[in-house]
Subunit: 417 residues, 2 copies
């Protein structure tokens, strides 16, 4: 048994915030939560991780990112999308043919994810199978839980990253055959996006998803040019989502990044199919895509989770991702003449943590029977002249904290930092 | 003589970026720049501050902020403006009747400004004269250059911060009589904003500005409700700016924060009068004001500088202020269907540094005859797998660096950090 003491802050659902000052989470020896209590039980005999006045918060879920773009983080945002892809993104992804390079990058990436309090992920790798396996290994070794996808892309022969259709299929099978040993990291089918994939490949991937019960992740309606391109590539469809849906790649638990320009029909298809929209606010601004209508999606009952989308997004920090989600919602709030409510900090916290946890089949918060996923935020280095409420300190996290304040991280029941 | 060695990055004007890899700035003993050279002269006999591969950049100018709101940083942004003022802003400003409290806050504030690479400021204090003098003293002691304003506000008797008109005049004179001893911090007249000031007080301040040759700072067209309120308060005017201009408070070097909702006539008045628009992108989103049309102002030839606007803004970091200025401009870029160009990193760098320097009568960059204002950015802790260009490392600063990477700061010729 173990007790984690501190000011416990849970968002059990969207907009709900439960604060237990000087509370205590009791876990059993494998890190499964037994109960959450207002105080340490008298005579508690187990180990105590006493974080005193620090904040005990849910750890983050980063539900969309491109692992091989990590070395480019922070660079190239003066360019428009296509120039940026050519100058920065495709060249760096090509480097992952080299497994030694992959090892170096992914080891550091996994460590920095944990440093930033991210314990669950869904990530794009590159098309390279061996490097993808290294990414999975490094995430698993760092104690992270989640999904990784070898990227499939068989069109646009001018891009040296592209595989032939046969190669893409063969390598996908080789990859799936090789990742049975991971415990917490699982494969997810990952067509890069419709413009990168032939219909033959998409159809084959859809069949594979059905046969093997695999989840799918891709991109949807990120910008208007891409949206128009998709409709021109697959005659007969009226909406981007249909380019996946017709092949069985738009089903339950599919992760669709961005969803900036979905119209009502596309949003309704997302909801109906139990697809998850991954909101990547930072990337949507940085590479000038647009503002995703998150409040509207939430009001419709669509599942929304957050992603850093590095390196279209500029930071691994899900604190920053949550803050940028708030900022995007505030721009929409102003521009709707204050009729569309912005995301509160409590809502952004839930989207960055519990909404992702639920994707993985867990309950949001520190629920009984769930493995512990938590961060300890020690904000004593921040300036304050008075004793602040736990609620104010919690809110302040999303504007003033970074990895320096994240003093400890628990993932899947284990202490990782 | 002193040589500062490193990769020197100057923005001598908007959009211009000069990079001198492994260059060298020579200053004389009082910190005045003598020349900038591509290499250390052979047999250089002075002291050498050798920063090797680090970046030598211009330090920041924070041209609008509220010093007494510093203890509230990061808190309360779920509230709308009026609730936020009542719950957070006014109560904290009231605390500055206590000079001991002021000393504690302003000492820390001055230190953190320097830590973040800000060496020139224009700040609002509170209405309290003695605490305002303490703010000036702490900034001066920290080596910061700039302007501070005792706030004038004599309307809205329900706010306990408000002075009587007589008191406001008397205290302003007492303040001006007491701040003759400061060398680098000067007083600036600071009517809080039109809704806080009677016409009698504004008229008196305008006369004082003329008589004593003082500059003025205030707020302009931050949000639509405020804009409408101003027109109702001063019958006969058609534009917010006229509420200042009619009293001589809208002249050369007046700093007007925000300028979000200025129409063409108001923008033209700003340009004509040589007023400086202070763009506070973070605050304009955080307290849901709107998107300031910075590109349009720049194209018109209006002087634009940047402000953190703490605590409407959420951070002292001008790196973040510059990044948020880019983000705001990118939203405008998307929404204008890519017809209004976004701010490049080089442009944002200039606005956050040299544009402010020019306000103070200096040249942007490391010009001969100017006191050195510089930061040293050591980005070696950031991840990178290859040797990056100085330009890419420079760009990355605005997305990935914070006070940790700012290893040294020079202000007004002296090393401050």
């Amino acid at each position: 048994m173990r007790a984690i003491r501190g000011n416990i802050i849970e968002a059990k659902s969207l907009g709900k915030l439960d604060i237990l000052p000087n509370g205590c989470i009791i876990t059993n020896d494998d890190g499964t939560t037994v109960e959450t209590l207002p105080a340490l039980p008298l005579g508690f005999a187990g180990e105590i991780d006493d974080y005193k006045d620090a904040l005990v918060m849910q750890s983050f879920c980063d539900m969309h990112s491109h692992a091989p773009q990590y070395p480019n983080l922070g660079m190239g945002y003066d360019l428009q999308l296509l120039d940026w892809l050519a100058a920065y993104t495709f060249p760096i992804e090509l480097r992952f043919a080299d497994t030694e390079y992959a090892r170096k990058v992914y080891k550091r990436l996994a460590r920095e994810l944990v440093d930033n309090g991210t314990t669950r992920v869904s990530m794009f790798s590159s098309p390279h199978v061996d490097s993808t396996l290294i990414l999975m290994e490094e995430l698993e070794n760092a104690g992270i839980t989640g999904f990784v996808g070898k990227v499939n892309m068989d069109t646009n022969p001018n891009c040296r990253l592209v595989e032939t259709t046969e190669e893409s299929k063969r390598e996908t099978l080789r990859w799936l055959d090789s990742c049975g040993d991971f415990k917490n990291i699982r494969p997810m089918l990952t067509p890069r996006f419709t413009p990168s994939c032939s219909m033959e490949l998409l159809e084959w991937l859809g069949k594979l998803a059905r046969e093997r019960g695999l989840y799918v992740q891709s991109h949807l309606s990120e910008n208007r040019v891409e949206q128009a391109l998709v409709l021109s590539l697959q005659p007969g469809i009226t909406h981007y989502y249909q380019s996946y849906d017709r092949f069985g790649l738009f089903g339950d638990h599919t992760l669709m990044a961005h969803c900036v320009y979905c119209d009502d029909e596309e949003l309704e298809a997302i909801r109906r199919n139990n697809v998850y929209a991954v909101h990547c606010a930072d990337s949507n601004i940085s590479i000038v895509s647009g503002l995703s209508p998150v409040r509207k999606m939430l009001d419709m009952g669509i599942h929304v989770v957050l992603g850093s989308d590095i390196a279209g997004g500029t930071s691994l920090s899900m604190i920053r991702a949550a803050r940028n989600a708030i900022y995007t919602s505030k721009v929409i709030n102003v521009q709707s003449e204050y009729t569309t409510p912005f995301l509160t900090v409590a809502e952004a916290y839930y989207l960055a943590t519990g909404a992702g946890a639920e994707y993985f089949g867990s309950k949001s918060g520190f629920a009984k029977g769930e493995k512990l996923h938590a961060i300890i935020v020690d904000d004593t280095a921040l300036f304050g002249t008075d004793k602040l409420s736990v609620r104010d300190r919690f809110g302040r996290c999303f504007y003033m904290c970074d990895d320096r304040q994240i003093k400890a991280v628990y993932g899947n029941g284990k202490r990782l930092k």
